[in-house]
C-alpha cells in the first residue's frame, strides 16, 4: 500500500470526551481527525496511516437499537473511504465492548475493510464477536491503553496489508475458536508423555482439546391423551428406499429423506435398506422394522394406544455429522412435523 492507510476510529461518549453515564444516550456523530485515545492511535500509526475521522456514540444509544445504530455509524463513516476501522479498545466495559464488536463485524461485512478492536478477556463482547473479527487483548481498564493500542495498531496494519496472521499469543489477539492443523516439533506420543509427567508432578501441562460446552435440551413435558395424537418416526440410522433415491450421504449428512409409509403394515426387507456407514447393516436389512418400528406402531394404532402413525418417516445418517449440520437438519424436520400436526416423535438411533 503506497499511500497512507485511511483510518476511522469508533469510540464511546466517555472516550469521546462528551461525558459519562449521563451522556450514554447520545446519538452517533462524526468529527474530522482524532479525539481522546485517537491521539495515541495516530502517534502509533505514524507515517503509515491517518485517523481521518472519529465516530462517537453513546453506549446506551448503540445497545438500545443495534440494527439502527450500526447502520447510522456505517453511513457516517463510509464517505471517508476508510481502509481500516479501529474501535475502542473497550477494556472491560460491556456495552462498549458489544458496540465495538458489532460495528467491526458489520463494517467488515458491508464495506469489506479491515476492522479491529481490543477488549479485556471477560468483556461479554469477546464471546459474541471473537469468531468474526480480531479482538486484541487489553487490560480491564483504560490504564492499559498504551499497551492495548500498540497491539491493536501492529495487528491492524498486518490486516490492512493482508499479511498472514500468526498465533494469538504472538500477535496479541484473543483466540477466535478457529482450530487449524499445524505441524508440531514432536510426535503426538511424545507430547502425551511430556504432558503426563508434568501432570503427575503437579506442574502446568497443556491440554490440546478442551471439553466442548454442550447445549442442554430440556425434555418436553410428557404427552397427555396419546390415544388422540399423531406420532411420527424419525431416525438417524440411514434407512432409505432401496437404491437411495435422494442420494442421502452415507456419513457427514447434510440432508434427510422423507418417505411415505401410509398404508404400510410394516417395512418390507428389500424395499428399504440402510446406507449408514457406522454399523453392520445385516440386522436392519433383514428387518428394517427393527430400526424404524412401523410394525409395532401399527399394532399400537390398532389397539388405540396412539391416535395415528404419521404417514411419512424421516431419515438421515448420523455419522461424523457436524453439530451445526445436525442442528439444521433437526430444526427443519421438527418444523415440518409441527406444521403437519404431529404431536409426538419417536427418534431411533444406532
Amino acid at each position: 500500500m503506497g499511500s497512507r492507510v485511511r483510518v476511522v476510529h469508533y469510540i464511546n461518549q466517555f472516550f469521546g470526551q462528551i461525558g459519562g453515564e449521563e451522556k450514554a444516550d447520545i446519538a452517533p456523530f462524526i468529527k474530522e481527525g482524532f479525539i481522546g485515545p485517537g491521539q495515541l492511535l495516530q502517534k502509533l500509526l505514524g507515517e503509515k496511516g491517518e485517523v481521518v475521522a472519529t465516530v462517537i456514540c453513546g453506549d446506551n444509544y448503540f445497545a438500545g437499537n443495534i440494527e439502527r445504530s450500526r447502520r447510522e455509524v456505517l453511513d457516517m463513516m463510509s464517505p471517508c473511504k476508510p481502509d481500516l476501522l479501529v474501535a475502542g479498545p473497550a477494556f472491560n466495559a460491556g456495552r462498549y465492548g458489544i458496540a465495538c464488536g458489532e460495528i467491526c463485524r458489520f463494517a467488515k461485512e458491508e464495506l469489506g475493510i479491515a476492522t479491529i478492536t481490543g477488549m479485556y478477556n471477560e468483556n461479554p463482547g469477546v464471546d459474541l464477536y471473537k469468531k468474526d473479527i480480531y479482538i486484541c487483548k487489553a487490560g480491564p481498564s483504560a490504564r492499559g491503553m498504551s499497551e492495548a493500542m500498540a497491539i491493536v495498531v501492529r495487528l491492524a496494519l498486518k490486516l490492512v496489508n493482508k499479511e498472514s496472521i500468526g498465533l494469538p499469543e504472538a500477535e496479541g489477539y484473543i483466540p477466535r475458536g478457529i482450530k487449524l492443523n499445524v505441524t508440531s516439533g514432536d510426535m503426538a506420543s511424545e507430547r502425551a508423555v511430556t504432558a503426563l509427567l508434568a501432570k503427575i508432578k503437579g506442574e502446568p501441562f497443556k491440554t490440546e482439546i478442551r471439553k466442548p460446552v454442550s447445549e442442554l435440551v430440556p425434555p418436553a413435558p410428557p404427552l397427555k391423551d396419546l390415544q388422540k395424537m399423531t406420532i411420527a418416526l424419525v431416525t438417524e440410522g440411514g434407512l432409505v428406499p432401496k437404491g437411495n433415491p435422494d442420494r442421502i450421504e452415507t456419513n457427514r449428512a447434510t440432508k434427510y429423506g422423507k418417505y411415505r409409509i401410509e398404508g404400510f403394515e410394516k417395512l418390507q426387507p428389500g424395499d428399504f435398506e440402510t446406507i449408514h456407514v457406522g454399523y453392520d447393516h445385516a440386522n436392519v436389512n433383514d428387518d428394517p422394522n427393527r430400526l424404524v418400528p412401523v410394525d409395532v406402531m401399527r399394532e399400537l394404532e390398532r389397539s388405540g394406544k396412539i391416535g395415528k402413525l404419521y404417514d411419512y418417516l424421516f431419515a438421515t445418517t448420523g455419522v461424523a455429522t457436524h453439530i451445526e449440520n445436525a442442528k439444521k437438519l433437526g430444526s427443519t424436520i421438527a418444523h415440518e412435523l409441527k406444521s403437519s400436526g404431529v404431536q409426538g416423535v419417536i427418534l431411533t438411533s444406532t
Partner: protein
C-alpha cells in the same frame, strides 16, 4: 522380558536379481516375491511396485502398512499368522528400518488412503518418509471381505519376513534392547531412585469383520481387558485387520509394531519414568460392557501394574470415544493420572463444535492429532500406484492436482499418536 532389535537402516529400495541388503540398499527380486505371493486363489490380480521418498509418486488405495522384520533367534514373530504360537517379544528380531510394505487393494467397503512420496502431501504423513514395496491386489470374484482381508494380511506379512530374511546372517547396523523386568522387579531397587510408574492403555475396535485388529491371530470381539508386555507388540502380536474405516485415520499394523507411545515411554524408561506395561482393551458394543471393561482396565492399571499415570489411545471414533472417556474416568477415580490422544472433527475451516459423543470432566489432558476435515492440496504427480479407481469414491484422475480432507491421507491424523500434526487455535 528382553528383546533385541537388530536394525538395518535402509535408504533406498531397488529392483534386483537377488533379494539382498547391501550398504543401506534393499534390492528386491520382484519376480521371486511375486511368484511367492501369487498362488493365493483369493486374489485375481497381484503386482509388486516400489515407491521411494522424493519420487513423484502417489500411492492410492493404501489399506495397511507393515514393516520388514524376521525372528533370527528362538521365539516367534506375527504369532497366530505366520509365526508359531508362542510368546512374542523375546530373543532377537531383525528389522529393515525405513522400509514399508503397503497393502493396496480394491473391493467394496475396503477404504484405502492416499500417500504422496514427495511434495507438500509428503509433509503430512510419517509414512511418506519410508521406502515402500507396494503389493497391489484385486480380489477373486468369490472372495468375501474376510477372505480378501486375510489374503492381503498374509501376503504383507510373508513379504515382511521374506525381505528381512535377507539379513539373517548379517550384523545389524545397530542393536536396540527392549528390556523391562516384571512389575515386581520394577521400582527403586531397579533404578535406585523413585520414578513415576507409567502404563498405557490401547483400546481396539472390535466392530465386525474388516473392522478390528487381530491379537495372536484372533479377533478381539470377546475378551476381558488383559495385560501385555510392550515387547509383544514389537514382535507383531497385534496386526491390523481394519479395512472398513476412515482410511487415513485408522491404526496401521506399522504403528502397532512401532507403537509410538511404547517407543516414547521406552525412550524415557529408567530415566524419567518406569514403563510398567500395556493394558489391551476393546471397544465393546453396549454401555454396560463398556463400563465393565473400563472398570477392569483401571483395576489392572492401578492394582496390577501399579501405575501412577497412564496414556490412553483408541481406534475408530464414535462409540470408542465412550471407552476412551470411561477408561480415563475410572483410572482418575482410582488416582491414576491420565493423558489421552484423540483426533478432532471440526468443519474444514476449523470452526464448529467438536462432535464427540462423550467427554469426561476428568479428561483434562487430551493431545490432539489434528482436525480430520481440514483440506490438503496435493499437486500433480508423474506416476500413480495402486489402481485406476478408488472404492471410497474419490474421483480421479489421480495423477492430477487433488484437494482432499486430511482424513484420506495415510495416517496424517493418527490416533495412535504416530503423527506430528496437531491443532492450534487461531
Amino acid at each position: 522380558m528382553k528383546l533385541e532389535l537388530g536394525m538395518f537402516h535402509i535408504n533406498n529400495v531397488l529392483p534386483g536379481d537377488r533379494t539382498l541388503v547391501k550398504e543401506g540398499k534393499l534390492f528386491v527380486n520382484i519376480s521371486e516375491l511375486k511368484d511367492m505371493l501369487s498362488g493365493d486363489p483369493r486374489f485375481s490380480k497381484l503386482e509388486i511396485e516400489i515407491a521411494n521418498p522424493g519420487e513423484s509418486v502417489r500411492v492410492i488405495n493404501v489399506l495397511d502398512v507393515v514393516d520388514a522384520r524376521v525372528k533370527v533367534s528362538e521365539g516367534t514373530i506375527f504369532p497366530g499368522w505366520l509365526g508359531n504360537m508362542g510368546v512374542a517379544g523375546m530373543g532377537r528380531t531383525h528389522v529393515l528400518k525405513g522400509v514399508g510394505i503397503i497393502e493396496a487393494g480394491l473391493k467394496e467397503n475396503f477404504y484405502g488412503s492416499i500417500l504422496d512420496m514427495s511434495g507438500p502431501g509428503s509433509q503430512l504423513s510419517v509414512y511418506s518418509q519410508l521406502h515402500h514395496i507396494v503389493i497391489v491386489t484385486e480380489p477373486a470374484h468369490d472372495a468375501n471381505p474376510a477372505n480378501y482381508g486375510n489374503a492381503m494380511k498374509t501376503a504383507a506379512l510373508k513379504t515382511s519376513i521374506y525381505l528381512a530374511n535377507a539379513t539373517v546372517n548379517m550384523t545389524p547396523d545397530e542393536i536396540k534392547t527392549y528390556d523391562i523386568p516384571s512389575v515386581s522387579e520394577l521400582g527403586e531397587q531397579y533404578t535406585g531412585r523413585k520414578l513415576p510408574k507409567i502404563a498405557c492403555i490401547y483400546i481396539t475396535e472390535c466392530h465386525e469383520t474388516i473392522r478390528e485388529p487381530f491379537i495372536y491371530g484372533d479377533n478381539p470381539r470377546r475378551y476381558f481387558p488383559t495385560v501385555f508386555h510392550p515387547n509383544e507388540f514389537i514382535d507383531g502380536a497385534m496386526v491390523s485387520g481394519t479395512y472398513y474405516y476412515s482410511p487415513g485415520l485408522r491404526n496401521y499394523t506399522y504403528n502397532m509394531i512401532n507403537n509410538p507411545v511404547i517407543e516414547s515411554l521406552y525412550e524415557r524408561h529408567g530415566k524419567e519414568l518406569l514403563l510398567t506395561g500395556v493394558v489391551l482393551s476393546n471397544a465393546q458394543l453396549s454401555a454396560a460392557e463398556k463400563k465393565r471393561s473400563a472398570v477392569m482396565v483401571a483395576k489392572l492399571v492401578r492394582f496390577i501394574l501399579g501405575a501412577d499415570g497412564v496414556i490412553i489411545t483408541k481406534e475408530g471414533g464414535g462409540h470408542p470415544d465412550i471407552d476412551l472417556m470411561e477408561c480415563c474416568e475410572q483410572c482418575e477415580l482410582l488416582g491414576v493420572k491420565t493423558a489421552l490422544i484423540n483426533s478432532e472433527m471440526l468443519s474444514p475451516d476449523g470452526t464448529g463444535s467438536y462432535s464427540m459423543v462423550a467427554f469426561s470432566d476428568l479428561a483434562d489432558c487430551v493431545i490432539s492429532v489434528g482436525n480430520v476435515e481440514q483440506m490438503a492440496e496435493l499437486p500433480p504427480v508423474d506416476r500413480v500406484i495402486g489402481g485406476d479407481r478408488m472404492t471410497i469414491g474419490i474421483p480421479g484422475p489421480y495423477d492430477g492436482p487433488m484437494t482432499i480432507p486430511m482424513r484420506f491421507i495415510t495416517n496424517a491424523i493418527s490416533q495412535a499418536g504416530f503423527t506430528k500434526i496437531t491443532t492450534e487455535e487461531y
